[in-house]
Symmetry: C2
Subunit: 254 residues, 2 copies
């Protein structure tokens, strides 16, 4: 099954929003996904009502070799499975960052514990290409890159392209990539300008679907739920449905 990491080192582009809503939709379609929160700020964990009260109840315990990944799986407020994060994870870079296997630890854990055999995995990364995000990239076979429709985010997209190309040499099998425009506002000339630039640059790797700026998407985290529960008729809900349809048709996810 697919192992997707949602990554962009630019901050605030919709990584958590995308992870939350794709996992929720995969769950509604019956594929029992597993989410993994790789961001020490644990926004996804907090939205799901599974914020770990201590590092020992979070992914951090796996890096300390204290627990198996399977022991850390919690059930979110929306009913699907998640391995939560905790602020302690920000120590991973300095505590566990060196060493030959440091970047493959998550990949090895997922394989050893057969966590991906009959369920897709979606990982939410923090806005830094550090040890945790690299663990996500080494553990995945798909990278989904949200790019908000603004100029500063375009810089970030070009940087990621360079980063992933450089990593392809060390990854056994380079992951399939998809870029998706988020926070697209059709009333702004800037949104169209950026979307066009991205399509010229990334071609077929660019999703046809654009995620619109939609208040339902920004509000659902406060209700501890996804957009399909909070605002099922919203533009945001329809766009994420169209995105998953497109990703499934492309074989990006089952």
């Amino acid at each position: 099954m697919a192992r997707i990491v949602v990554f962009n080192q630019k901050g605030g582009v919709g990584k958590t929003t995308t992870t939350l809503n794709l996992v929720a939709l995969l769950a509604r379609r019956g594929s029992a996904p597993l989410a993994i929160d790789l961001d020490p700020q644990a926004h996804l964990s907090a939205i799901c009502g599974t914020a770990a009260s201590a590092g020992s109840d979070s992914l951090y315990a796996f890096y300390q070799d204290a627990k198996l990944l399977a022991e850390l799986i919690r059930t979110s407020s929306n009913g699907w499975s998640i391995i939560p994060s905790h602020l302690d994870l920000s120590k991973v870079d300095t505590q566990f960052g060196k060493g030959p296997r440091a970047l493959q630890r998550l990949s090895t854990g997922i394989a050893r514990e057969h966590l991906n055999t009959d369920r897709p995995i979606v990982m939410d990364a923090c806005p830094l290409l550090g040890v945790l995000s690299l663990n996500g990239i080494f553990a995945c076979d798909r990278v989904l890159i949200p790019i908000s429709a603004d100029y500063l985010a375009v810089n970030g997209a070009l940087q990621i392209d360079r980063t992933l190309r450089a990593l392809e040499r060390v990854l056994e099998k380079p992951p399939m990539r998809r870029f998706v425009t988020t926070r697209f506002d059709a009333r702004r000339k800037m949104s169209w300008d950026i979307d066009r630039k991205l399509r010229e640059r990334f071609g077929a790797e660019m999703c046809e679907t654009r995620i619109s700026e939609s208040v339902g998407l920004a509000e659902s985290p406060a209700q501890n739920c996804d957009v399909f529960t909070h605002a099922p008729e919203s533009r945001g809900a329809r766009d994420y449905i169209a995105l998953l349809d497109e990703l499934q048709a492309a074989g990006f996810v089952g």
Copy 2:
């Protein structure tokens, strides 16, 4: 003179946008500010046309003990001074992060070279509480915390409050703090809800001025300039003028 760090570990809340426009306005008001780009992604440096082509032309060279801060000062496309960043700075955490003086290096450098004697300094931080951002916090006497008017950013604000309180014990003199709401959209109930929550929580430390969602602010980086050059009549320009007026009246900056 004031030494301000613009920080929030939540991504995409308007740190770079705030640094760019406050520095531009301080320059227009004749105080010849110095900007320092502490983000390895170097967004501020790129906007100013001073993106360093190599680590040796950026703040990274200062951490390598290869150059003085004063040797790294460049003139931005808008005419004010900036010490640019470079992707190599992301190595600072693992290369220079340990050691007793690691967090005070920038502070010591600014003091030794008298960079702050007759000009304010404004530092743009990356969305991570790592060695670079801590260098900014130890070097500053003011912390300006942008918080975008959305729920996920509120989580971040509470985390910062805890972080700064914990740091106060090790800082010689705790910095003066101000929080400012950004990307405020008066048509959204959520914006008012969040702004009220922040005022209840942070009281007098919360700026009266709110920075509105304004396309002029999002567009100016593509023109390599600040909002006062690109869209002087825009809502964004007026809001940052009001913000600087308020900060100057409060003695936060000269």
